[in-house]
Point group: D3
Chain length 251, copies 6
């Protein structure tokens, strides 16, 4: 059994998050925006709003609003420059997968009827990538979403808060047989199993994605990772709440 | 608590798979191929082989072989014709996500060193889509993979079997609060939660993807779905084995 | 003069077709579908229907319906895997040329007014390619078209049969100076001249495409090829009729 | 039977070509170039040369040279501006089909071994389109080819003339039941049958493409069209020869 | 100080233009067209007209008409064949920059209200490129524009001449420290500074683009270049006027 | 004549810059990076380095290194979300023009031989766009370049400083007949003339781009704009120097 007091390379315990902070209003022309700093990972999360819904909703007569996400890694976000998507002419599979995940996560806590016939765009642009960019994107996007919704309410474009609960995400994994919370890039590269957990403030799952490449994982390992993840999510909910409230009154 | 004897629209019990069968050698120019019929879902799974590895493996000096997958829905696979990917000029996000999942699943049971410096291409083309196409693709692809590897061994292109265990996939979900195995298209559209389980014959997970759109799911529901999935996978392993052995001797 | 009793590598005489059979309803969600097996060539032909016409017809005020075709070679249809069109980002010239030919051939036997303001999509996907894929596509597509039209009549979406006569296609060629019917891949690669004939059941041409690469062909050779082609088409018309009628009553 | 003395709208007899002329060296940086004027149709045909062969030739070890063609309609070539290919992002099917035809026609009269390991690019850009642009392209391209080959010989880059015979092309068709040579745009739009004939100076076919949309054509009509075409080709061969020789000595 | 009597490689003085001529109606289906020959540079300039305006004008409620330009180098316009834009799938940056410049230049002399709700397309296709293709394009396009507008007036599609003044363009540069007018390709490649001047007949600037790659340029050099450019533009205005009037009466 | 004491909407005088500041190391994985804040315009400028040169340099045997730039507006940088380039599949013309300008500006102050056989990538991503994004990109990019070069020197990858002088850029324009320095978005939209000046610390021009849409500009107005621009550039040089030195010693 793994020793819970064993320190990781950066000094963290198995169940410890990296330091996390938020810079609000990084992109003032968006409805809501934050720069989330999560260890060495940094992501700009911005929420914009358009007064229309996707064509398929109109065609199928679906009521209410929509939320969609786009995710991109800026070329200087990695050690060794990453060519832009536009250079290759198309979005790579990983980015598409992540932006679909962000979109689903955000929609899972939204009352789309209360949003009215409008679309929220959640843009996540990675400024620095040191592991956990999808978790940082979802966690930061929720704070930007709260800011955007507050503005819609203040401007009386909506009258009911469409946000039903909060949502955050974190990665867990198995590294050398040991379950760890919040893997950085080095740990993630070496991990046998990588799992992303998206969870609400009420302790329910929005999404669970566990992947073993080469090495598979057992029922017991799954349960250990779920336990670590659950505790990480609670801590993230607190940090999101503090960030959102900060400066709200005097702003 | 849900009544385990309650029948589903097509007469199945909560933990029952749809009828599954395999037509082998549907594409004789591939190294291995099957048409998997899973209820009304039909997928051509074919494995081809090229005597080279991707450029990134050469550049990074990674030894052994590789396996990659491509997934596509043929335009007549849906009620209401689905335009081809090439018409839109790019692969949609869902297809990219699925083909990455198929690729990881196949690689998770392959000893890539024993494969040598070659690439296996797993092509999955959906002829009829009635839910569970990704589960059918992975389950069928493994049978095609076994056939392909058998041929490589017979032709003495490899000397050691690179397949370490078998792999299969199945969907589970929560519909009206009840956990169900193997959702068809109607059930999948109405389900609150949708989960895909990719598992080996030794009962370990390769992949676990659970998604709740709008409705989230609890720890208890997760455990119920995992239990149904585990039993479904065991049954699929048996069907794969029978399909592979069929006609092998007299062929 | 060439000896008419001389056997070809697979035992056929100069004017003999390869064995041909049809599997109906291969894609049950299409309006009509067959898998045509023509020697080692196999093509899925499926006809779908949309209740609208192309924009140019509306803009130009053209009455009646339309039929269009798409042709694709599945990656495992060739010895040596063929990359998908989507990988290159665009359809190659040969595929475009073939799908335009299939479209023209189908339209040449359709009374577009009787079809009403709808579009028929003819999809031809090659599962195995051993020469003559365009002939197999047209010949199979006509059977799928008959099935689709029968269903439209049965469902009372149309009241008059828009099919005016039957259409089939076959290749002929000159190989080592000898005119041959229905070339397989080996023969086609070595042939001096390659000609495709698309003809109706009334013995009239829809399309005639004869090509000599490097070697040109004389008036006399043209006439020999036309004679072989005509006889092949008559035989194909019979096979199409039998396939269409099969199981019709008791279905 | 049709009256052979009946005049067409522009005063021509059934078997008469439109006026044809050539402006040589329209694009002086090409190895050979002409502007062919064929009635109101005008095409720039230019031949360039690169000292390498396509990759597939190297990979397959094919000896000798290659010739390939590109065809494009300039946006001001039609009544009503035609958007450029680049605006749509890809070449339309018709243009691809035509450039493949031009390429095959040119290769059919070339001794590729005598050309050596180089590639000839035949570019055909339509300045004005009034029907018969593919015939004009092939007929003009051959004159540009002769000029280019003469320059290669003069510069002692090759020592043997790779041109084995001349090639030209013309359209024929059936309009109101009457076979006509060289259809202009108006006639072509109204014609029941449209046939392109590419033929060498020795009276052999390179290519024969006959198409009936809606209306099919009989054996007898085919023979009438072939006879008209043959006579048109002989006249074109003379015009090409005169154009090539013009100014050659004193240039 | 530079010797103003020093001859350039082709015999020109520092402030002398290359020989310039115009062939009118090169593309008779356009509303107006010229082939401008400017030394060894040749460009087809054609103006077409569509009876609609861009979508953004409708959406923003902008009144009047629009003019837009497209620029392309034909593959045989350079020594060493230049691949077509369509081969690369997109327009290169240089071409986009030039066509935006042509569009702005043409619009700067147009009264868009007098044009009415229509769009003029200015197409510039380079047949031979020996430096100064953007200057030749703008200078030639203006003549084509005058021809097109004359036709619109004659056809009573517009009643007021929307052309307010004439516009022309020329390049100037610094080569070995000496200011030169109208650089050919050889001079342009060697020049330290390259400047394009677009100017009206009233001596005002539409556009000024001066670029120093590696070597920068001083205030004094700027003034010398401006002086040479101004004189070149006056001469071009005269040549445009003569070309436009030529044959106007008897045509 | 215009009154030099007249205040602009934001209180600035005609020749006054907006407030400008720099946040260094915004993207720590780049070699050098700043966030430049210029009024309400914000741009991330980052410089990365690859140990190779473009293919054309190798092919043409050009010695030394290269610098290239990419420019993009993040979707939340504008009031009203701007769709990403990748959504449209290609870079728009304006962005291409700007990134070519940034590249030329940076190269104009680099000694490419001293750089050695490596490529510097200058990435400019606009976080907030309120006019002058190209000026901010060039001005910020130079500071990031200095930081990157300092690191290359410190790491002894180069031994000689390849930066020969500093470079900055600013916009000037004519608004209601009055010459103004540094236009914000509102002023830029209403301006009759827009000019960008890129200039070195030695007072020489790298680039001069003046554009009048609809309204042209006179020689006198040109001289007024040049004078304003020159003074703005001197002030920018000072700000760049301060920003670069800040924290350098204690870092």
């Amino acid at each position: 059994m793994s020793d819970s007091t064993l320190r990781r390379p950066d000094g963290r315990l198995a169940g410890e998050l990296r330091p996390i902070s938020f810079v609000k209003n990084i992109a003032p022309y968006a409805l809501g925006s934050v720069l989330i700093r999560w260890g060495n990972t940094q992501v700009i999360c911005a929420v914009s709003c358009e007064e229309s819904v996707p064509r398929w909703m109109k065609e199928q007569g679906v009521q209410g609003g929509w939320a969609t996400a786009e995710y991109s890694m800026l070329p200087y976000s990695t050690l060794g420059r990453k060519p832009r998507d536009i250079t290759r002419g198309r979005l790579d599979g990983r980015s598409q997968e992540i932006q679909r995940l962000i979109g689903r996560s955000i929609r899972s806590v939204l009352n789309r009827e209360a949003l009215g016939a409008r679309t929220l765009y959640v843009d996540c642009d990675v400024v620095q990538a040191d592991g956990g960019t999808r978790a940082a994107s979802i966690t930061g996007a929720f704070v930007a979403l709260k800011m955007a919704v507050r503005k819609l309410l203040d401007e009386e474009r909506i009258w009911e808060d469409p946000i039903q609960k909060s949502v955050a995400a974190v990665s867990v994994g198995i590294l050398k047989g040991r379950a760890l919370l919040d893997l950085d890039y080095q740990e993630d590269s070496a991990a046998e199993v990588d799992m992303n957990i998206v969870m609400t403030s009420s302790g329910e799952f929005c999404e669970l994605q566990g992947t073993g490449e080469q090495v598979t994982f057992s029922e017991k390992e799954l349960q250990e990772m779920l336990e670590l993840g659950r505790r990480g999510i609670y801590r993230l909910n607190e940090l999101q709440e503090v960030a959102f409230l900060e400066g709200e009154k005097g702003d």
